[in-house]
């Protein structure tokens, strides 16, 4: 049986009809057409699908869309405002924090909460905070620098 759901995504109201088994990441990508949120695994490990749900970084491949009824969602598409990159996006650009870019949206969304909790993290805290996000290209070094860039820009 389909359920009607509605949620706020990047400040806009969306609603839809979904089967309960539709994962939130599929709802975001296939129903809303917001394809910046990626799917990199079947085991809840890679973090490419990370979004903010009511302010908390979560893996949208491991939540059913019906569970997000009434939630406030932010995806990578909601980060820039008025054509200005978010400091984290700018950091990944300036510090060469990406190569293929597949992991980047998830890295950025996890880092949003990381910096909210801890605006001035040490290198070790950044690495620990990104444990749930895999990158197969960069070796993580410049990702850490990108987060440090954003931390100092937001300070």
């Amino acid at each position: 049986m389909k359920h009607s759901i509605s949620m706020t995504v990047n400040g806009k109201e969306y609603s839809g009809e979904v089967e309960p088994r539709v994962l939130l990441v599929h709802f975001i990508r296939d129903h809303l057409g917001l394809t910046g949120t990626h799917i990199g695994c079947d085991t809840t490990q890679c973090g490419a699908c990370t979004i903010l749900m009511d302010g908390a970084a979560i893996k949208s491949c491991t939540v059913f869309a019906v569970q997000a009824e009434g939630a406030q969602i932010t995806t990578i598409e909601g980060m820039a405002s008025n054509g200005e990159l978010h400091p984290l996006q700018e950091g990944f650009h300036e510090e060469h924090g990406l190569q293929c870019g597949f992991c980047t949206p998830g890295m950025i969304m996890t880092s949003v909460e990381l910096l909210n909790q801890n605006p001035n993290p040490t290198e070790a805290e950044i690495r620990h905070g990104l444990e749930g996000n895999y990158c197969r290209c960069t070796g993580y070094h410049n990702i850490v620098k990108a987060v440090q860039y954003a931390a100092s820009k937001q300070a």
């Binding site: 049986m1 359920h3 089967e19 309960p20 088994r21 994962l23 599929h26 079947d42 085991t43 809840t44 490990q45 973090g47 990370t50 908390a56 970084a57 979560i58 893996k59 491949c61 491991t62 939540v63 059913f64 019906v66 569970q67 996890t110 909460e113 990381l114 905070g129 444990e131 749930g132 996000n133």
Partner: protein, 288 residues
């Protein structure tokens, strides 16, 4: 991957959850944080007909102090436990364990009740809760009962819960004067689950060990207490030699797991090393 189809029901209260559970019968599954259930459904290892979402029952996600007991609601997520000031003050090792579960996103969803109900042999909470002498409160439509943590984990993925029971809270005695606690783990490098995780609670009176509980997770098919090590430590001065000698017995009487991450023999070794390290941290904290 996409799970099989199922019916989704939201329970707004415990009473509603009980009736939905009995309606659903054998093929109903409770959804708390979903971070065990949904991965299993995606891989089609689990195929419930009805999923009953209990995550919105709001009075089950609070941490409160009731006299000498810290009460952690079953739906409290790992991140909340890890950041709680009360947990840090009254049962430090619990927060330590919560803070090393999985990764930040997993900690934002996974709940303490779901974690222990599932009883994964490599989960962190079972080890630390054994050391903290916790009590699990479970309710069903026929009433409420308290289960001592020593009786809770019974076998691989098995607990003392019976059908229709829902964990509502975990009660943990507040640690007293002269008592220190610690939880550390040797994580699986790929999954971050515990290859061996150790919780220790130790009390010192006039320099002697007057109480001690050690819980080990990850090593065997379910978490267990290092009873021989506890006995050897009781009454000792906790000198380096005492601790060294006691740790050799950490896995005594247990049949340990052997898998890709570690052989049973290596786990025996890890148990003694990790128990020693955890004792040293707990003793330091007991002295203050």
């Amino acid at each position: 991957m996409i799970p099989y189809s199922f019916d989704y029901k939201v329970a707004d209260s415990l009473e509603e959850a009980f009736s939905l559970l009995s309606e659903a019968g054998e093929n109903g599954a409770l959804l708390a944080g979903g971070h065990t259930l949904i991965p299993a459904m995606k891989l089609r290892l689990s195929e419930p007909d009805t999923v009953i979402d209990i995550s919105k029952i709001s009075d089950l996600n609070q941490i409160t102090k009731d006299g000498d007991i810290l009460v952690v609601g079953a739906l409290t997520n790992h991140a909340t436990v890890a950041r709680s000031g009360d947990v840090m003050t009254y049962c430090r090792s619990l927060g330590e364990a919560a803070g090393v579960i999985g990764d930040p996103q997993v900690r934002n969803k996974g709940t303490i009740g779901g974690n222990i109900a599932h009883a994964d042999p490599a989960s962190d909470y079972p080890g630390v809760l054994l050391s903290l002498n916790a009590t699990v409160v479970a309710k069903s439509d026929s009433g409420s009962r308290s289960i001592a943590i020593d009786d809770f984990f019974t076998a691989l993925f098995e607990t003392a819960l019976t059908e229709g029971e829902i964990i509502t809270e975990i009660q943990i005695p507040v640690l007293g004067e002269g008592t220190g606690s610690a939880y550390i783990k040797f994580p699986n490098p790929a999954s971050r689950y515990a290859v061996v995780g150790v919780g220790v609670v130790i009390t010192l009176t006039d320099g002697k060990c007057t109480a001690c509980r050690i819980g080990i997770t990850g090593a065997a098919d379910h978490a267990f207490r290092a009873s021989v090590t506890e006995e050897v430590l009781l009454g000792s001065d906790l000198s380096t030699d005492d601790i060294e000698a006691a740790c050799q017995h950490a896995a005594e009487g247990q049949e340990l797991l052997s898998d890709l991450a570690a052989s049973a023999n290596y786990r025996v070794h890890l148990c003694s090393v990790m128990v020693k390290r955890a004792i040293n941290i707990a003793v330091e904290r007991a002295i203050g």
